[in-house]
């Protein structure tokens, strides 16, 4: 007998299910965003950020509350759907400097699969302290806004 291949639903790769983007707000802060596809969710306590160069210090605020889910093994867990926006603070950065923001996340699809932790990155050019208004995000981040 042949397997009903039509039953195989098309699932997104992790980078598309949990699209990461970021934009510089000003010389000292960056807005990080996960755009989560319908039918997918991220775990709140599995999100981590890192920045390069490592001389830059990143301050991550408490992440927004998610939807509480009772997990039989892990107890109370919080999940995000739709999108999550987190404003990160930066210290020790030279005005106009480029930086790479790396975000690790882990989530699942409602269809019954989970992805391992995935790292995505965005390269950002921070505005000079003197310049006003938000700057345009670089490469990966930019793409995400257009879709």
């Amino acid at each position: 007998m042949a397997l009903p291949l039509s039953a195989q639903v098309s699932l997104l790769p992790a980078e598309k299910a949990f699209r990461f983007s970021a934009r510089a707000i000003d010389a000292r802060s960056v807005e990080a965003r996960f755009t989560i596809a319908d039918g997918y969710y991220l775990y709140r306590d599995k999100i981590y950020f890192r920045v390069e160069p490592t001389s830059t210090r990143l301050s991550v605020p408490e992440l927004p509350s998610g939807k509480i889910k009772e997990d039989e093994f892990f107890g109370r867990v919080e999940t995000y759907r739709g999108s999550v926006v987190i404003t990160l603070g930066l210290q020790g950065i030279t005005p106009g400097q480029k930086l790479v923001l790396k975000a690790e996340s882990q989530g699942c699809a409602d269809l019954g699969i989970c992805y391992p932790p995935t790292v995505q990155q965005v390269t950002l050019a921070l505005p000079d302290a003197s310049s006003a208004g938000p700057s345009t995000p670089a490469n990966i981040g930019k793409k995400a806004w257009f879709n």
Partner: protein
Amino acid sequence: MATVKQRLVFAVVAIVALAAGAWFAVSTEVPRDATTLLALSLPDTEGKQQALAQWRGKVLVVNFWATWCAPCREEMPEFVRMQREFGPRGVQFVGIAADQPDKVDQFAKELKLNYPALIRGYGAIELSKTGGNRLSALPFTIVVDRLGSVVYTRG
């Protein structure tokens, strides 16, 4: 969850058919050779190395999973039941966890897992990719027939 159940139905059909010695067709995209998989030796929850070759000649159901994967945990009680039912007919389930030994051990005890839980960390996902796990997601299951050919994979 419906899809977990759906997946299980396919797995059950495959396993029952194999246990009965029936021929089973799969997608041509499935890598047919299980040599690499069967050559593996991985530690169990007690740190003891277990060679997959020890189950050669059986219908081997290799399930890649992790405790951090809720859908994986959801389908495992059914695997426990199937191991009990089809074990005497030559079916052997083996779990390969992309996880930490202590977590795996804790969950295996809670579930009263009746088949080996081997551990490979996140390397388990890389390993499953060689078996056709295109999305690198879990769970992912490979069924190897008595002759050592991959006859079924399901993500």
